[in-house]
């Protein structure tokens, strides 16, 4: 079963052995950003979730970080 690890500190994700890694925003708000307007923040969330789904369905050969 494929798993995507969405996290801020990618090196930790690498160390613990995650295969599909999607970098996120910050430790206190990985999937949000309080500095944005609510509308922009919602778009940010959608973008990250879309990125997560894309990672989930991408074939990989070893640890992969899905950058922008």
């Amino acid at each position: 079963m494929p798993v995507v690890h969405m996290c801020t500190i990618v090196p930790i994700s690498m160390t613990v052995g995650a295969n599909r890694i999607v970098p996120t925003v910050a430790i206190p708000y990985p999937l949000g950003n309080p500095n944005l307007t609510p509308a922009d923040e919602k778009e940010l969330r959608r973008k990250l979730v879309r990125k997560g789904l894309e990672a989930l369905t991408t074939e990989i050969h070893g640890q992969t970080v899905f950058k922008d």
Binding site: T8, I9, P11, I12, T15, V16, P23, A26, I27, P28
Partner: protein, 428 residues
């Protein structure tokens, strides 16, 4: 930069008519201290208690511990950026009420503050069971938000310590220690036969109850910078953090940084101690990358042969520690790391969130997940029920008889990563 630190040994603290030091006893005018600590329109009430070593007293939740110090010669004052201006500190002469401490408490700000027991099992784990504590319990006005609440209590503690420190201004110290670091080129040439060692001083900087300040500046906003080691002794680094209190540095620990003390003790004997680089532990990957890149650059710039790196906290700061280690080692400069461990209550789990084969010299300050039972105390200053919510405790930590079953994570300073504690290990 040369600093004389005059220690005035305090063996007891008592309330008295006048705040003064007489024959090793710190007398505290309670009303005056309450007034000074409460000089902030956001303070609703201040109460002051005394807690001495061996007394059956628990202080909960503890926010900060501050040592009373006073500048008697030279520029600036203690706790620059807060209690005085921002003049350069770390030179001249400073007097210390050694053996006394201000401990701040009051209703909980977040869910992550500490415990100090003056007796029993808990007392063995916190270094502040051995100080004569002036406990300042500060309650803010009702409408205050969390962030302001934290500021109000922190500043009240600083004011209290500054007020008590003044009692040492005219006193004759029982001992005077001298610390000196020359400007870099001069220092480098001084002990050419000895390895040049720098200290990478990592500071917790992740938001509410996780902040640290340098001359009043929030350290999350800085890029890593050089610091003369003696600046720390004058309170240039001040704590605004106590989350998972076992491995956060109260202001007192920065004022007494044992890493700096030990490096000075070897200075000119086995090493040439060049100075400190202070850096942060921020919440985004880009910040962590930038700060570790800059730290490694500054270490190289100093021309160090080796560095000590101390972490503050655990979890994602382990990534900062590992980045600092990797990047400095890859420049051919040896590192020794100081951290603590979260290895689970049975000690069997991975200790750190991140790791590196280059970190082959590492000092541990203990396993914060170790479970202990803190016996009931006759007196509790503060709010015992928060034992059920602060980090390291759980719902049910506070027992019906007043004892607390908890991880040592809740105990202020129990696994202090500057080594300011009493845990030891022996081979059996």
């Amino acid at each position: 930069m040369r600093l004389e630190v005059g220690n005035i040994f305090i063996k007891d603290v008592q309330f008295g008519k006048k705040t003064e030091v007489k024959s090793g006893v710190l007398y505290v005018n309670k009303d005056e201290l309450c007034k000074v600590a409460g000089e902030d329109e956001r303070v609703k009430s201040v109460e002051v208690f005394l807690a001495r070593p061996g007394e059956s007293v628990r202080i909960i939740p503890v926010k900060d511990v501050v040592e009373p110090r006073v500048k008697v010669e030279g520029p600036g004052g203690i706790l620059p950026g807060f209690m005085t201006g921002v003049e350069q500190v770390g030179s001249g002469r400073t007097h210390v009420l050694k053996g006394a401490a201000v401990v701040t408490t009051g209703k909980i700000v977040g869910f992550q503050e500490g415990i100090i027991d003056m007796k029993g099992t808990g007392a063995e784990y916190t270094p502040f069971s051995r100080t004569n504590n002036v406990v300042v319990k500060v309650e803010p006005i009702d409408s205050l938000k969390q962030h302001e609440h934290e500021v109000v209590v922190r500043l009240a503690g600083f004011r209290a310590a500054t007020y008590l420190g003044l009692a040492g201004k005219e006193a004759t110290p029982d001992e005077v220690k001298t610390y000196e670091t020359k400007p870099l080129f001069e220092q480098s040439m001084k002990y050419t036969h000895l390895p040049k060692v720098a200290y990478v001083y990592m500071l917790q900087t992740q938001g509410l109850l996780h902040n640290t300040y340098y001359y009043g500046v929030d350290v999350k906003e800085i890029v890593p910078t050089f610091m003369y080691p003696t600046e720390a002794f004058d309170g240039a680094i001040a704590s605004g953090n106590c989350v998972s209190a076992c491995d956060k540095n109260p202001t007192y620990v920065h004022q007494n940084s044992p890493v700096i003390e030990d490096l000075y003790a070897q200075h000119g004997k086995t090493i040439n101690f060049l100075g400190c680089i202070i850096t942060n532990e921020n919440v985004t990957l880009m910040d962590k990358e930038r700060s570790s890149n800059m730290t490694a650059k500054l270490v190289e710039f100093l021309g160090a042969d080796a560095v000590i790196i101390s972490e503050e906290g655990f979890g994602n700061p382990d990534a900062d520690l590992v980045m600092n280690c990797n990047k400095i080692e890859k420049k051919g400069i040896r590192t020794v790391l100081i951290t603590d461990e979260y290895a689970g209550q049975d000690g069997g789990s991975q200790s750190l969130a991140d790791s590196t084969p280059l970190g082959d010299a590492c000092v541990t300050a203990g396993n914060a997940n170790q479970v202990v039972t803190l016996p009931k105390m006759d007196t509790v200053i503060g709010y015992p029920e928060v034992a059920n919510v602060i980090a390291g405790g759980w719902n049910g930590s506070l027992q019906a008889d007043g004892s607390i079953v908890t991880e040592i994570q809740v105990i202020t300073g129990a696994t202090n990563e500057l080594g300011f504690h009493y845990l030891t290990a022996k081979t059996v």
